[in-house]
């Protein structure tokens, strides 16, 4: 799900036949404005990827601990909490 949203964010800033948003010496400002893709969503995506990595790291470490306690990964057997 994370990746679907990340792709969506990239698409928000994309335009057809866009160029990378790097202002080079060879490109005039007008051409840059007309053709470059929006760099801001890319900045957002890299942040959200890092956050996703943090969540997955925490998730895996909790899962390992859960396996130590319950001896299984079966979510039907990890049910001590009810009500």
């Amino acid at each position: 799900m994370d990746h679907a949203v990340n792709t969506f964010l990239i698409l928000v800033g994309y335009r057809k036949k866009g160029i990378a948003p790097i202002l080079d010496r060879d490109i005039s400002i007008q051409k840059f404005l007309a053709q470059a893709v929006d760099p801001l969503p890319q900045a957002l995506v890299i942040t959200s990827i890092v956050i996703g990595l943090g969540i997955i790291a925490l998730m895996v470490s909790i899962a390992v601990r859960l396996y130590q306690k319950y001896g299984t990964f079966d979510i039907n057997e990890i049910r001590k909490l009810r009500g």
Binding site: V5, V12, I51, I55, M59, I62, L81, G83
Partner: protein, 503 residues
Amino acid sequence: MIALPFFVIIPLGLGFILPLLEKWANKKKMVEWLAFLGSLSLFGLALAMVGKVGIYQLSGWKPPLGINYVLDGLSGLMLLVVSFISTLSIMYATKYLEGYRDRGKFYGLFMLMLAGMFGVVLSGDIFNLFVYLEVAAISSYALVGFNRGAEELEASFKYLIMGAVGSVFILFGVGLTYGYTGSLNMADIYQILATKPGGSVVMLMAGFFFLGFGLKAALVPFHAWLPDAHSSAPTPISAMLSGVLIKVLGVYALTRITFNVLGAPQGVTDLFMWGGVLSMLVGALLAIGQEDFKRILAYSSVSQIGYILVGIGVGGGLIIKGELAIAGLAFFGGLFHLLNHAIYKSLLFFSSGSIEYRLGTRDLGQMGGINKVMPITGSVGTIGTLSISGIPPFSGFWSKLAIILACLLGGYYIVAGFTLLASVLTLAYYLRVQREIFFGPLVDLKKKVKEVPALMYVPMVFLAILCVVLGILYLPTVRGVLFDPAVDILKEGNKYVSLVLGS
């Protein structure tokens, strides 16, 4: 407003220093003192900010371009609540956590959570808000499983999955908003949306935000993780999660985005109202059947969050109808209930923790007569239960009264009826709590039970005094300073815009 970034800098810095201090220098007492002094200084800073407004531009970029921190009435109120409850929680934790390992890591995570919450409250940039929200959420996932027992880990995992799904919804909402308006500054988005035709895209954004923040605020039907997480966490964390985290990440962010960014579109306020009514009733009904003291408190949080949302939703509905005075009353009721709930729910969680500390159980059947053996815990717990069930002299009554009055004056008779019904249900399950825990015969225990140490009961006494005092000071003093600026920000979205963009 040079002081604003310190709300994030101090806890963020402490969050990294404290675990290192414990690991390398092994200074346990110093860690505790630093954590306490840090949060106390933040409370002092928040008190100094009461009644002030202003913005802080990061790196000097002007508002529509750069990221900025915004202090207005609403965020000032939230800063005060968060820093106050966190100071008392740390005070309580010093004694409660005595037997725990890795206390430096505990305080480190606590401070990171605090930094995230202050960031959410202050941020004026919608993506920045999301990042801070994740900072607070990830540290709270880790804190819930801090005991590393089987049940704690299970609760933490459940909370993590639900929280991550909620975050994805919020991120998608942010993406949609950026795609439609081309701006991430919250005030700027409000202005752009005011000129564009609204309609289905704005509704879609509001829907995604409602789903995401609703998951964080544990509204029914997204509440399944809350009773597990809040009852498994160490008690000071339970008090933080129930007292402030669900309000900051859930209610505050949802309210801010709906009213000050999307401009409170018609229909969304009804969603607030009916979502609130549903949470209120389902939370209260589920709480009645519980046997575990902390689970009762957790379900009661679901129910009380419902009250807050009903207040805010009714206010939003009345703005659309054009009845601004009654809308102000409804917003006031919702925000006052938010403050009250933070106070008495942390009080009740503290007293449940004290009882667990001495008796070693949370089962209602295995306790009784606490008033006789632990007089201070017993009496403050009784005040907390009376206040949350809305008995007249205490603070809980006044905020419920304001919400119900606003519903009646605004013509929402059915909502008012449901609110009254939920109030009666709340009274029912707290009377049961009182009968089985605080009064009644002493359960025969092998070990001798005595009062908890002073560091644990002093925060509870503070909160209990506030429960009484806020009820008495209701109209003249508190309202004018604390609530009126917050209510004004919700009533008029333009105010937020003119504060940030300075037009």
